[in-house]
């Protein structure tokens, strides 16, 4: 077993002596994550506020004075134009309005994400809605009908989630998602260098000459990959936590491109058991992916070829996680906890929300360990195949 430790040590020393690699894999994510998560949100927030406060010009045709007044009151500047639709399409105005046959037709360029035009359209809609309500209220008052007749009852939506579920928020999705991203990106650095890198540099043959079973070599390299993957995962999650703290300071939400605010959560207080369970899940995930990456890396002829295998692997690994977003739509089934990667993501989500059961945990860990074992055996078989080892 000493052979495993020696290979692990050698791989990690090689990695940690590469300052640039350590910086880009372990340091940079801590600072990049908050920027990545909240940078666009902050910029969007500022742009939306700016657009709300700015006085946009509105191309108008045939509007009555009361409507023009309503637009002016909503901080808009109506400008008469014979064809508002054409003016908006040509980009001369962010928004246009035509009054025709009892309809206010509002024109805006609404394709392609949130734009100033959409904000202006929203302002026009709100102004006209207020005008409509004022006119309705005026008619009702004239006829002696109380205004309350328009709201015979109210509808209230109450979030009945448990406190821990609420605290989990989006983290239940973000945590496994980013964990997989960082485990893969951090792990591949070692996996590629320890396999295709060794082949390319001419060091693999010397290592294979050592009187040590191939399983020890494969396990040593896989564990080095796991160590780096976990460190990278911790680094990414530190960034996520930093981002979460920043989010809490800025109101606890993430602004989406449609202008909706998503609750991030980030108030999770895990007990020791849940924390250990999360760590074990992350470790098994890293072990599984590490063995897969080592196998792929060894199969490649060169460093470049190995990297070209890693990009599709990353996409493939993220695919089941995307379905985690829809977990609220389906009834939980035990077999979901046997689906590679998806099971770990489901369990992490459940752990964060305090709803994980021993069966879910057992199935997830057992199956992931089995997948890791199979991947490791495959790595050993690849190591033993001379046509693979010498195909450079």
């Amino acid at each position: 077993m000493k052979g495993i430790y020696r290979v692990l040590w050698k791989e990690l020393v090689q990695v940690f002596r590469d300052g640039k690699l350590v910086f880009s894999t372990l340091v940079l994510p801590v600072f990049l994550m908050p920027v990545f998560m909240f940078g666009p949100s902050l910029v969007l927030d500022r742009l939306l506020k700016g657009a709300q406060e700015e006085r946009q010009e509105v191309a108008v045709f045939g509007l009555p004075e009361e409507a023009l007044s309503a637009l002016r009151a909503a901080n808009l500047l109506p400008k008469p134009h014979p064809d508002p639709e054409k003016a908006v399409r040509a980009g001369e105005y962010p928004v246009g309005v035509r009054w025709e046959g009892g309809t206010y037709r509002v024109y805006g360029r609404l394709s392609g994400g949130l734009t100033e035009g959409q904000v202006a359209v929203g302002k026009v809609q709100a102004a006209l809605q207020s005008l409509k309500e004022a006119k309705v209220a005026e008619v009702l008052a004239r006829k002696g009908i109380p205004h309350e007749v328009l709201t015979p009852f109210r509808v209230e939506v109450v979030n009945a989630s448990s406190e821990r579920e609420k605290a989990g928020g989006l983290l239940g999705f973000l945590l496994p998602f980013f964990l997989v991203v960082f485990v893969l990106s951090g792990g591949q650095v070692v996996a590629v260098d320890a396999t295709a890198g060794e082949k390319e540099k001419g060091t693999l043959e010397a290592l294979l000459m050592a009187p040590v079973p191939l399983l020890h070599l494969a396990l040593g390299k896989t564990l080095a990959t796991v160590a780096m993957a976990l460190l990278s995962g911790v680094s990414g999650l530190l960034g996520l936590a930093l981002g979460g703290a920043l989010a809490a300071r800025l109101g606890g939400g993430l602004l989406t491109e449609t202008g909706q605010t998503l609750e991030l959560g980030g108030q999770v207080a895990l007990d020791g058991g849940s924390f250990l369970a999360l760590f074990l899940s992350a470790f098994l995930l890293a072990l599984f992916m590490g063995a897969v990456m080592v196998s792929l890396g060894l199969y490649a002829r060169s460093f470049k070829e190995a990297q070209s295998y890693m990009a599709p692997l990353q996409l493939l690994a993220l695919l089941p996680l995307l379905f985690l977003q829809f977990r609220g739509f389906f009834e939980p089934q035990a077999w979901y906890h046997l689906v590679p990667l998806f099971n770990v993501a489901l369990l992490m989500d459940a752990l964060l929300k305090g709803s994980a059961t021993p069966l879910q945990a057992g199935l997830t860990w057992g199956s992931t360990l089995a997948y890791a074992g199979l991947a490791l055996l495959y790595a050993v078989r690849v190591f033993a195949r001379e046509e693979v080892v010498f195909r450079n």
């Binding site: 540099k201 001419g202 009187p211």
Partner: protein, 239 residues
Amino acid sequence: MIEVNHLSKAYGKRLAVADLSFQVAPGEVYALLGPNGAGKTTTLRILSTLVRPTGGNAKVAGFDVVREPLEVRRRLGLVNGGMRVYDRLTGREALAFFASFYGLEGQAFQEALNWVVELLQMEETLDRKVMEMSTGMRQKVVIARAILHRPPVLLLDEATAGLDVFARRALLEFVKAYRDLGHTLVYSTHAMSEAEEVADRVGFLHKGRLVYQGSLTEARSLGQGSLERAFVQVVKEAA
């Protein structure tokens, strides 16, 4: 010390090594000569347990290369021209890493290190990172890695490739010195002048077949004093 009997290796329909037989005794340098693609590297890879033969058998230090690979590796050193050591480790760390696989740790490693440093004159390389070494220094570390456990059998495959004149000279001197210690060496090369300098016996490989083997003196006399002439003559006759 090395026994090769009817050894073959096929890659699909192509025979890389065909019915190869030879023996090498302790205290002997056997030069395996042939152009690129003659089967020299495949033969040495079979002897070093990295490649499995498809026919015949081979023993190194009394152990079968297929059935007892770990025992063979414990008694064998391999140096080839393309071999490198880890560039971010120092010479000492790289050697300690490989030595540990042979149980050489602590005092045992230090003694092995002292021996190899003296033999190869490589004191200045020990505490330098491999990436900061010259080609010759690096090759010394590669050789040191292969002999640190004092293997009774050493295989060298185009070991002077890429070396400058000084490093090449040092390597040839080392081969003779290691032979004089009573060890068994196979020296594979396409450079006849190197074989003439170090070999006791030679074998000519052509398209995977051993077309001639004999002592260096016999081979030279076959080529009227020139090993190269003998090689060309034998290969032409075999073709």
